[in-house]
């Protein structure tokens, strides 16, 4: 793996050109991700504007403690990721592997807590189309809130999963000495992706769990 990645690919003139291309590439990719999630936020905004009361009810039925724990986990994982990138840039192999592994661990914990949360929703009959039952007013609109809740957190969780898998591979490569202060682009790019996943959660968390909860 290391031997195929570190040299300069034939289409590039030098390492700087290759690094600039990779960096621009990941930023464009992140832009597509923003638009991808943008659809969900647009759908959320429109639907909430039309049914503010139902969204307030739905928001209060979500599990705030678990979501807050998850927020803490994900924010911390961004710190460990940033430290991992810094360690890779400084050429500290053991620190790189350590910080990246810690990031993977925090990501896995996020997914585990998410699973707990989904389980609790299932037990409380909050899963749309599967077992949703809510007896108050505007039951349909509350169900619509939970539909958005599952789609948004589900697609976000899929991104966390992809991040965890990618960081695991990068950590393994780091342990095989694949990176150096001259070449650590994969660590850098994975870090940028991970931060984006984190930033998206920073919008998801208040919109679904906090807004109109008082």
């Amino acid at each position: 793996m290391a031997s195929t990645l570190s040299p300069i690919a034939p289409q590039f003139d030098d390492a700087a050109q290759q690094r600039d291309a990779s960096n621009l590439g990941i930023w464009i990719f992140l832009a597509t991700e923003v638009l991808f999630f943008g659809v969900l936020f647009a759908a959320y905004t429109i639907t909430r504007t039309q049914h503010p009361a139902a969204f307030a009810v739905g928001s209060r039925l979500t599990d705030l403690p678990l979501a807050s724990i998850n927020t803490a986990l994900l924010l911390t994982s961004s710190l460990t990721m940033a430290l991992g990138v810094h360690a890779a840039r400084s050429g500290e192999r053991r620190a790189t592997v350590g910080w990246l592994s810690l990031t993977v661990g925090l990501g896995v914990m996020f997914l585990a807590v998410k699973g707990l949360e989904y389980h609790a929703d299932y037990v409380e009959h909050l899963v749309p189309s599967l077992n949703f039952s809510y007896s108050g007013a505007q039951a349909n609109e509350v169900e619509l809130f939970f539909y958005l809740y599952f789609v948004i957190t589900g697609i976000h969780a899929a991104h966390v999963f992809i991040g965890v898998a990618t960081i695991s591979v990068i950590a393994f490569m780091a342990s095989k000495n694949a990176f150096s202060p001259e070449y650590f682009t994969p660590v850098d790019l994975t870090g940028l992706y991970w931060h984006l996943v984190d930033i998206i959660w920073l919008f998801v968390y208040p919109l679904l769990y906090l807004v109109s909860r008082s």
Binding site: P10, L35, V39
Partner: protein
Amino acid sequence: MSSITVAEHENYLTTDFRLWSWLTTLDHKRIAVLYTLSITLLFFVGGAAAALIRLNLLTPYSELVSIETYNKLFTTHGVIMVWFFLIPSIPTTLGNFLVPLMIGARDLAFPRLNLLSWYLYVIGAICAIESLMAGGVDTGWTFYTPFSTEFSNTHVFAAVTGVFIAGFSSILTGLNFIVTIHEMRAPGLTWFRLPLFIWAMYATSLILVLATPVLAMTLVLVAVEHIFGIGVFDPALGGDPLLFQHLFWFYSHPAVYIMIVPAMGVASEIIGCFARNRIFGYRFMAYAMLAIAAFGFVVWGHHMFVSGQSAYAGTVFSLLTFLVSVPSAVKVFNWTATLYKGRISFEAPMLYALGFVGLFTVGGLTGLFLASLGLDVQLHDTYFVVAHFHYIMVGGAVMAFFGGIHFWWPKITGRMYSDAWARFAAIVTFVGFNLTFFPQFIVGYLGMPRRYPEYPPEFQLWNVLSSMGAVILALGYVLPLFYLFRSLRYGPAAPANPWNAKGLEWQTSSPPLPENFLRTPVVAEEPYSYSADRPSDG
């Protein structure tokens, strides 16, 4: 490969003949060939559906197919032609082949992503064709909710999955082009020395990258709603079906510019070459394409004038739509001005390019009719709309695609085709196209709605004319298959620069070396410096 002596040096076609080497190739030129073969196949699938539609419309009473089948035919035609032919057409074939060559690079920035994008396209196409085999989809290519969700009993999921996957193929192509054009230009090749084709690819890539994700997520929401029976587009639950239309057109209007901007790039290359003139107002041509790409994102509401959006939104969208005509007109005037005092010759690519300019102009001007709020109430969902967008997408984009294939065929294959046959095909296509679609303006203006298998008998004359035109048009599309493939075996070997054209791609051999250039070229002149070749201007 043929009886004629192969060129003395190895080229990208002769490095390895095994199928496996093609399926695992990272060479942008080979991937372009793979794409060309795939989209040609899908073009004829979509074309077959169109042929059946036109055949059915020969008589007013839908005597050929049932109403259900007719719905599936026009859906198939739209889905295949939009997502599996027009969107990928010029970028993935000519774009893949030419972007590195025109900027003096050895390949695109990310060759593996490029190959992945082809595989995604193929998988998406298989899903779409699977949905046809399983029984078809009857929603129209627009997948409007609730046709595509609770009221659908057809194979929407497979079709939507196919379009979703093909969308990622678009995104990867766009990303690859943007990075390549930014980072890998040859020494001396500044932004304003770039060929307009490269500017076109750049503008198109911006749309591909920024609009496609919106379609992808919207289709995810449709699929979820289709399967689980709940979603934000369902009014029974308090959802909003109009939201789907907003999201869909946020992608699908810019998608029209994904089709036409590359065509503008092709036309600029061809017209400059065969008028032996530098492109008039080069910088404005580049800015105009960027402007079209940018405006394209803020006009989607003109598809929804009669859908129930507010009158104020309609007014704003109408005004913004009129604005698009400014950069579009800049392009048409500048192509015309490029011809002025040129030494024009009428080889086949030039005929296609001139045909493109004329048909694009008609398509664009009729777009202004539709952008007018009041007039659109009369014309919405009639054959006038069908004719308008076919003038842009078929008359514009497909003419330019064929022009580009003819222009760069010697470079791609190393063979010359019969110019006489090619000119004949270009004229047949032009005549057939106009005969097919011009009557649709009239019958649409008279009130014939689109997507209906039956019509009042007084419209039959126009429909018969249109169907006759379709036969001629089909001939125009099939002819190149014969003489182009024939040229592969019997055509004379092409020189490096058969048209005496400017541009780096003509400085390397035909077909190019696997690594494109022996030495990285250095650029020291403006693009389209054709007038420098001429002894004097009269």
